[in-house]
């Protein structure tokens, strides 16, 4: 599948007036705007920097502690991506499995909902006892926290296949799995990617939470020690790095999404 131009015609004559490309600029403008607001907000409210430091202070901290921040960021990114990838595979698998039969759906869904209502931090101790501290529990926590949104969207995609489309395949004697893979999955791709956006952010939260409780490295560990030293700017530096990593992963997925789901994004509305 390839990227598609929308059906909207392109004006023949190029306009001579300079017109900035707002869509490309928007992320930067919004981010800068956010930082400015944050800076002003903190300054006006007079919150101590041990509670909410200004962005300038946070950037100072980033420069000052760049080496540990970088090392820990890489560690966290590594565990997160690993956990996320397991979650994608497992989420797709469980989603298909749940889509397979009403009985499995009825049985498994409530249990998963119940499981997901539990803060995963409560499970970290169990993982630590089984796997020791470090990378493994972080990966597993990232996985456990992030597979559910994927399951939900894949299962919804399967449950809402139009019978008309289904019939096209059923008339050919297609097996259930064929219908799922050939129709269910591609059809729910846009939502699958939507769920990935949710899942990747949750995966970051998961690995950080696990690192906070049981790890000698990673941003979670770094932020926990910084917090206990009242080095709040460093804590926020860690949070900012998390946000940046999250956005980087998002950009990667947005790119894949664009290639994969161009067919679905033909709406001319969001212009």
């Amino acid at each position: 599948m390839t990227t598609l131009d929308p059906a909207t015609p392109i004006a023949a004559a190029p306009r001579p007036v300079f017109k900035p490309n707002w869509v490309r600029l928007a992320p930067w403008l919004y981010t800068i705007g956010l930082f400015v607001l944050w800076e002003i907000g903190v300054r006006i409210s007079g919150l101590p920097h041990t509670i909410l430091p200004t962005p300038t202070r946070v950037f100072e901290a980033i420069i000052q502690y760049w080496s540990p921040i970088w090392k820990n960021s890489v560690q966290t990114l590594y565990t997160t991506v690993l956990g996320f990838m397991i979650a994608v595979v497992a989420g797709l698998g469980i989603g298909l499995f749940i889509g397979w039969s009403k009985a499995i759906y009825a049985g498994l869904y409530p249990i998963m909902v119940g499981f997901n209502a539990i803060p995963k931090v409560a499970l970290v101790p169990i993982l630590v006892i089984w796997f020791g501290i470090g990378t493994v529990p972080a990966v597993l926590t990232a996985f456990l926290i992030s597979f559910f949104p994927i399951v939900v969207n894949v299962a919804t995609g399967l449950a809402t296949i139009e019978p008309e489309t289904e019939d096209v395949l059923r008339a050919l004697g297609a097996k259930k799995l064929d219908i799922m893979l050939k129709v269910g999955v591609p059809r729910s791709m846009p939502y699958f990617f939507g769920s990935l956006k949710v899942a990747i952010t949750l995966a970051f939260v998961g690995s950080v939470v696990s690192e906070t409780v049981a790890s000698n490295s990673g941003l979670g560990n770094m932020m926990a020690s910084a917090q206990s030293n009242f080095n709040v700017p460093l804590v926020f530096a860690g949070l900012l790095m998390l946000a940046v990593e999250g956005i980087a992963m998002y950009a990667l997925m947005a790119w894949v999404e664009k290639r994969m789901t161009g067919w679905a994004h033909r709406s001319t509305m969001a212009n």
Binding site: A171, L172, G173, A174, D178
Partner: protein, 262 residues
């Protein structure tokens, strides 16, 4: 020889016991190699008849027997062109046409190795229906009539034994339509495939079919069957001959009468 398709006293109701009764007391036999056209008023149950035959719906009472077996799940010997083209929007037209090959047992194992051969075949089919060069377009980039033609290709690609065509030419202009009549006619002649065609065009039904089946208004049942006497192979000239137009006229008035009676 037992008929390929035998529909016996079938009732089909949609949406539970209080739902719409679509067909009732439906009886129809279709022999191997026969070309049957089904005509009837809008909403009378023609599409339902197609779906019953292919096993997409299972009737509440009566039996549908295809290839000597009672139908309890979709049968796998058919190629069906649905009334609504329903192409998969994430696949190009060519990929949509190749879809049956990915599903049908006979082809799916060969597909990977013989991809080029199959693609060539699909492209040839596209050319036959006048869509040469549109294989790479997505279905939503085609006009209504073009989609319908692609839909026809998808029903033909895997050379099914039983071809079910549900108003396959409804959105086409008269000339394209006549061309495709000839395509279908030749296909039937060459391969001895059994064809069921639903249509609103009486001339189409008489030109193509061995037997024209007239259905009543909903709940649909067969009110008459008309063997078509014209010798094969038939040429388009037939359309302008008197016996042909007489038969069309006869069917026309018969349906008119049936309609008033209903």
């Amino acid at each position: 020889m037992t008929p390929l398709v035998s529909i016996e006293n079938v009732d089909m109701r949609y949406g539970g016991p209080t739902g719409t009764l679509a067909v009732s007391g439906l009886n129809l036999k279709i022999n191997r190699g026969e070309f049957v056209a089904v005509v009837g008023p809008s909403g009378c149950g023609k599409s339902t008849l197609m779906k019953l035959t292919t096993g997409l719906h299972i009737p509440q009472s009566g039996a549908v027997i295809v290839a000597d077996a009672k139908v309890t799940k979709p049968v796998s010997i058919v190629g069906m062109a649905f009334q609504n083209p329903t192409m998969l929007p994430w696949r190009t037209t060519l990929e949509n046409i190749l879809l049956p090959l990915e599903i049908v047992e006979r082809h799916r194992h060969r597909l990977r190795a013989n991809k080029a051969e199959y693609v060539a075949k699909a492209e040839k089919l596209l050319e036959t229906v006048g869509l040469k060069g549109f294989g790479e377009k997505f279905p939503w980039q085609l006009s209504g009539g073009m989609q319908q033609r692609a839909n026809l290709c998808r029903a033909l690609i895997h050379e099914p034994e039983l071809l079910m065509l549900d108003e396959p030419f409804g959105a086409l202009d008269a000339f394209t339509r006549e061309e495709l009549w000839c395509v279908i006619r030749d296909l039937h002649a060459a391969q001895g495939v059994t064809i069921v065609l639903v249509t609103h065009d009486l001339r189409e039904s008489v030109f193509l079919a061995d037997k024209v089946v007239v259905m009543s208004a909903r709940p649909g049942r067969v009110i008459s069957e008309h063997p078509v006497p014209f010798a094969r192979p038939r040429q388009l000239d037939l359309l302008y001959e008197q016996p042909f137009n007489d038969m069309v006229q006869k069917l026309h008035s018969e349906i008119a009468t049936a309609r008033v009676a209903a």
